[in-house]
């Protein structure tokens, strides 16, 4: 009878985490920040059709970094969750917190039970109304969930980008200032990112019921100038 090799659980988890981190680090990063009338999400993404940022519901947006097919599947699941919930109850009953929890549970489950962890990090952003504040939920590949009310950075190079955003961040800046700072933080000191290298969307009060709005190239170039 052959004995299976014993591998310590610590080693298994460490290997999986390393694998996921490597996968995420291969992709480009994403910054989400609040500004005076909304939330701006900026991702380094040269593609115009394979989105990292998408609409989930009236006041909720999704951001993903890492492996496209994996986070896109999670995005669609989020839209489905929100739409069925809003249809069964009411539009007001759809909130980011419950969706973020579902993502965290799912990612955590896959990380511990499946062969391969998902190589993604997820952002669920919710625009506050008068009473509730803006919420940014950052969910890591192993299901760790953190909530931020100022800004969030996702991706391989998160630590250095976080430092740069933190240094520039202001509570009452307008959209143009927030976008410029986010683009500079993503680029770093050695390069500049043009409008064509970025994917940008906002959740903004004043956009009507569906607050999600993509900011496309000609307008984005003006805002970054």
């Amino acid at each position: 009878m052959s004995m299976p090799y014993y591998v310590a659980p610590e080693q298994v988890m460490k290997d999986r985490a390393e694998y996921a981190q490597k996968g995420i680090a291969r992709g480009r990063s994403l910054v989400a920040t609040t500004y005076d009338t909304g939330i701006a999400i900026v991702a380094e993404n040269p593609s115009r059709s394979l989105h990292k940022i998408s609409e989930i519901y009236d006041r909720i947006a999704f951001g993903g970094v890492g492996k496209y097919n994996e986070y896109d599947q999670l995005r669609v699941a989020g839209v489905r969750h929100a739409d069925t919930k809003g249809y069964a109850y009411s539009r007001e009953d759809v909130d980011a917190r419950s969706l973020a929890n579902l993502y965290a549970q799912y990612l955590g489950n896959v990380f511990t039970h499946e062969m391969k962890p998902l190589e993604v990090e997820i952002l669920v952003a919710e625009l506050g109304d008068g009473e509730s504040p803006n919420q940014l939920y950052h969910i890591a590949y192993e299901g760790t969930i953190t909530d931020e009310d100022r800004f969030a950075v996702l991706g391989g190079d998160a630590e250095t980008i976080t430092e740069r955003v933190a240094a520039a961040w202001q509570g009452d800046w307008d959209m143009a200032a927030a976008l410029k700072a986010a683009a500079e933080a993503l680029a770093g000191p050695d390069r500049t990112l043009a409008a064509g290298d970025l994917e940008v969307a906002t959740l903004s009060r004043g956009n009507g019921r569906r607050t999600f709005l993509r900011i496309e190239e000609p307008e984005l170039a003006q805002l970054l100038a």
Binding site: D83, K85, S98
Partner: protein, 266 residues
């Protein structure tokens, strides 16, 4: 509630109705009625749509009837389907309103999942499928017949689609009306319609058609200045769905009635 994830071979795609079926979030259809039984449930009545130079105008009276009883004085029968289209309903009120709600979610769901908006034709076909699925209920007297119209952003024109209870849908190039007072309303529009109407002329024609329908059909509500209830009117053009403000509708009705009184006084 778990995260709604599906294996690739059974993924419902952008179909919201299919998703509801798979997640069992939708209640089963109500039990069959006994043969010959008739239920008195609220019915919505007259809705009209007509094309003008920049898009379409859609209007509906506000009355719902159950037999000879007026069930609601201020029912809404004209709804935005999405940014560039509108849907109006005639028939069993409860089911029609639910169908519209599902249709609205379906269009938005498709747009979010696919990342692109359905074509106007695609939206009209989606609604046809919903009406067709409702056919068993329609055969028992609980029919829903919508009217769908919108601005076709690809072609740059307003288009109108008319439905029957089997889900058959027919495109009408100029105007259409449905519901119990639909015939009178349609005849009124027929006499006043011409190519290239302005927005104001089209809104006035819609108002006149509902007035004439209410004059001939007891189930169609006319303007109600006592309660301040006027038909619901919406315009859809390249800018999207815009409801006509109630004050404007009231003013136009006032002008129509003043004109009629002046005619009689002569």
């Amino acid at each position: 509630m778990a995260l709604p994830l599906f294996p690739p071979e059974s993924d419902p795609g952008p179909d919201f109705v299919g998703l509801l079926r798979m997640t069992a979030g939708r209640a089963d259809p109500p039990a069959r009625l006994e043969a010959g039984a008739s239920v008195q449930v609220p019915h919505g009545t007259t809705v009209v749509a007509l094309r003008y130079a920049d898009g379409i105008v859609m209007a509906g009276d506000r009355r719902a009837t159950a037999g000879n009883i007026i069930a609601h004085h201020a029912m809404e029968k004209v709804f935005p389907a999405d940014r560039h289209s509108a849907v109006a309903i005639a028939g069993t009120a409860g089911m029609a309103v639910e169908m519209v709600r599902l249709f609205q979610v379906q269009l938005e769901h498709y747009e979010k999942v696919e990342g692109s908006v359905l074509s106007l034709e695609g939206k009209a076909n989606q609604l046809a499928q919903m009406v067709r699925q409702h056919l068993p209920m329609a055969m028992q007297g609980l029919a829903v017949v919508p009217l769908f119209a919108g601005y076709d952003t690809a072609r740059g024109v307003g288009r109108i689609f008319n439905y029957d209870v089997t889900g058959g849908h027919y495109e009408d190039t100029d105007f259409q009306a449905t519901g119990s007072g639909g015939r009178d309303a349609r005849n009124t529009i027929k006499l006043g319609w011409r190519e290239g109407l302005s927005r104001d002329e089209a809104v006035d024609l819609a108002i006149q058609s509902l007035y004439e329908a209410a004059d001939e059909d007891s189930a169609t509500g006319g303007p109600d200045p006592v309660r301040g209830i006027y038909p619901l009117i919406a315009v859809v053009d390249a800018q999207g769905y815009q409801p006509v403000p109630e004050a404007e509708v009231a003013e136009r009705f006032g002008a129509l009635i003043a004109g009629k009184q002046a005619e009689r006084a002569q």
